[in-house]
Symmetry: D2
Subunit: 312 residues, 4 copies
């Protein structure tokens, strides 16, 4: 089984003002992100990569581009997304062919018509069983929080991690308490990656977590990697200090602690942060994502300064 | 403005055992359904048509097939679905070219990443404004219930019905109370179609409703059309009688009152009902939809008998 | 078993400006309400009677006063409320001694500490079993809607209606669909009273309901009694007409369709309606209930006029 | 303003097998708990003290007993509970007279009838304003999590902490992210006590928390006090170690991470833990609380052993 630990940032997809993918900027973004030490790999075509707005061709080309830009020592994780099981399998095969090392399986049940099936462990199992059999790449199952209405039950998780190719769970558990519950039930069977971009992250990392897969980590990647290292197996005092002085200002200004205080797209806000740091060409997002406005730009700037990434 | 009243059944998409669309059966299904009197039109590519599992090419071909099978006196309503605004516009243009008379706009926000935007009336307006401007077909906005997490606010609804091409709301309000609230706010500005396949339908129809757009009405279409007529403007005593003796047995056995008592796909159960009535080739659904099992078949048979559609 | 049908209005508790119970006004309120024909009885100490703010002594005195004011042909139903099982039993015994004919058992689980127990059918059963054994009055179990977080499961309901003294369920089901589900499961074992003061009432009444227990029925009681009669066993066309022209204007202006559009206490709004009709001394409510303001007064006046109870 | 920091355990109320309060055992429990160093005070009549089942006289006598047992250097915090504003004020005055130093104000809105008022900042303010004016003891406002349906809005919290006697918030925020949001908005105006008995506690303590007010801390009080000290201002590595090896086994076995995996009353489980440690006379709880069974006893025993409090 693949051993996954440390940080795997979920990267962004840069767009031109004409809403086309800027593949040159994507290459630079992947290279810059993967410069950090302590990474397991990087993720493309996740929610942070605005996968919902990418065509199937674009998704494949993003993988090819990322693979070319990524050192061979790092793994390439590719998100796959569809509300049809056939569609997911097709996406998986395309991602494999394009060069992905692992798949991040976004839940196909997160839509009103299927949502109740996320509580039916047979239905969940059948989807992963087909991916296991027909695609054959290592998979990370993205597990949503209860509040989403499409969380997998513990029984469903237990069944899917028994499949050969399901190597990890991306735990978007809402609370450290839920992370602990999943740890108790599953830690001897699989790897539970922390996947929240909010202040709840620290407590999860300190609760036996092996690593994290988060979008916010593309902003100041090395420090996020260090935070993950210190919270999980290094010096907890340093992790606490990084949490307070570095992580929280970014979580507040960019992700708004995931409260959706404003309608701004969090991935657009992440782009804006990298734009201000000179590492990204623009903050353009595709609709219905909402682009940052001037108030948000100022808030992000203040966050970057507070985090020590930008000078006043 | 198009005046919409009476019933518009949402039709099914028949599949072969190899999961291919059976276009011959689709033609027969459309013809049979449209034989009933009192219809405004029929709907394809809705949730009942398993739109989530159809490719873009299939969606277009379903429209072409339905248009050819439908009398010119009846309107063809085509569902469009995408989580990207560009994707919705593309779907709208394709549906227009394929021969749709009206669009049924499935909410693009019904997914964790966008769900909060369904409460932001600017975001909702922007999607419909683009469809209004770039597609230019009359539109029915599908409005989800609160419990879905992606209901439009009353303010958002007020704004979108001000657009020229938004001619009706498909009200999947959970309760007659919510339908009444929407009626108070919007009835002088738009048409509010009843869209629940449960026993909550009767009370909504009697509350000033002009018509209904529901999937269950493909089973015994003429009686559903009569029920809608009597509940809205005919004899309420007949409507009540039809509700008790005809509608409820089907709502219970096929749609399980939308409780998801079993994981069975409600659209597959509807297919099974038509199969037992000799009007459909099979009950095959595409995954992750769950096909009927023997217990469900027996329950549906009992429902058809209780509703007077099948002899013992 | 007691046969319960027709209407049982839930009455109010009149307060003086000093927040004391006005027992004279209570007597007049009970007498006026019970003048209508077609009633099963009347309810006191329900939520409409602001039971949460009444001391135990006041609750008993309300029962004594109501019993004295009520014709012997009508039943007196008394609400009992406590978050402790012992407390509920004590309340039941006090109500029995004070002259109640039946108890309305408000769920003891509707508080964060106990809410999960409402889903544990053993816990629900134990409470009603003790009341059954130790109090020995016929009981109506108040069943809350799912959205409350303290709804009883169908299994719990099945178990408690097997007890000798549990003679009816007050169904505050959110939707006619839920009412239908309860009807299927329980109608041959108990009586399912409709208990919503919103436009969802009509569809429930037409779905085999034997009667209703609602607070709004103290305003124009005779017409509510007629509405219940016609919807359940009379002429559905008249019921539909009463719904539109009489019931809905009151449901909108007094109960705000239970949307809590304003913070106003619905029971205070009901008091204000009776005050405007010359049947109640004041609209005073006890805190934290929020008294009507001038805007609400005007809205209620418009509602009474629309319902035909007040002249312009 | 009173400076509150460190730990304030919420104590239990011991009952005899006849369900009477065992005041002798209460005295011993208070004395034993208050032996630990690093405490601000202790709490009685909270949810852990089963306040919902205590009569008003019992609540007062518990305060008198606790005051007598508590060293004068420690503060006595008394919970007050009522669904009526008058009732809360009366409770506050009784608690003051009985010797409480501070009040813990349990939300009066946590019941279906009032729940919507918890989102109306005027209504929330009015309750605390009356307590501020008419009781005049320092108050800790108990703030419930969003999932309860009766969380105070940030605006309501901002307003009540402006009152002279509101000196702290007991933050039962579901997540460290919510704690962080409250910290940002309120930390310069009030004290935010951590109040979760789950693995989410550690991350909140490390996020600038001044202290904690939790029920689980009566089991091995000195170590909880040390954990709070190290997480907030001492050595984070020790706090992390205590979290893993001491706190989590107790949180899992006694509080079930607050998942209500079984119907057992968490306060009864806490009593059972102390019974096994020889510090409590029995695990009796009042109904509807559910007493521990043998399976739960064994689980608690395993938890105490894992936490190092009991030898095998």
């Amino acid at each position: 089984m693949i051993k996954i630990n440390g940080l795997s940032p979920a990267t962004l997809t840069p767009f031109t003002e004409a809403f086309e993918i800027d593949y040159g900027a994507l290459t630079a973004h992947i290279q810059h992100t993967s410069d950090a030490t302590g990474l397991f790999g990087i993720t493309v075509n996740g929610h942070a990569g605005e996968v919902l707005t990418l065509s199937y061709d674009e998704r494949a080309k993003v993988i090819v581009t990322a693979r070319a830009a990524l050192p061979s020592s790092l793994k390439l994780i590719a998100g796959i997304e569809s509300h049809a099981t056939d569609g997911l399998v097709r996406e998986g095969l395309r991602a494999k062919e394009a060069g992905a090392d692992l798949l991040l399986v976004i839940p196909p049940f997160d839509i009103r018509t299927w949502r109740h099936l996320s509580h039916d462990s047979d239905s969940v199992y059948r989807v992963f069983e087909r991916l296991d059999r027909e695609v054959g790449l290592p998979m990370i199952a993205f597990s949503y929080p209860e509040a989403s209405g499409s969380a997998y039950s513990m029984d469903a998780l237990r069944r899917i991690v028994s499949l050969d190719h399901v190597v990890a769970i991306k735990c978007s558990a809402g609370t450290p308490a839920k992370y602990a519950e999943m740890h108790d039930a599953l830690h001897d069977k699989t790897t539970l990656l922390v996947a929240v971009d909010t202040p709840s992250m620290l407590g999860m990392l300190m609760h036996h977590a092996p690593g994290a897969l988060v979008g916010i980590a593309v902003v100041g990647t090395q420090r996020w990697s260090d935070l993950v290292h210190h919270a999980t197996e290094g010096d907890a005092n340093i992790a606490k200090q990084f949490h307070i002085s570095f992580a929280v200002p970014l979580m507040r200004s960019i992700f708004e602690y995931h409260t959706h205080r404003t309608p701004t797209c969090p991935f657009g806000a992440t782009k804006e942060a990298l734009l201000q740091l000179g590492q990204f060409p623009s903050s353009v997002v595709r609709a219905p994502g909402v682009r940052v406005d001037d108030a948000k730009r100022a808030e992000i700037r203040a966050g970057l300064i507070a985090a020590g990434l930008l000078r006043t």
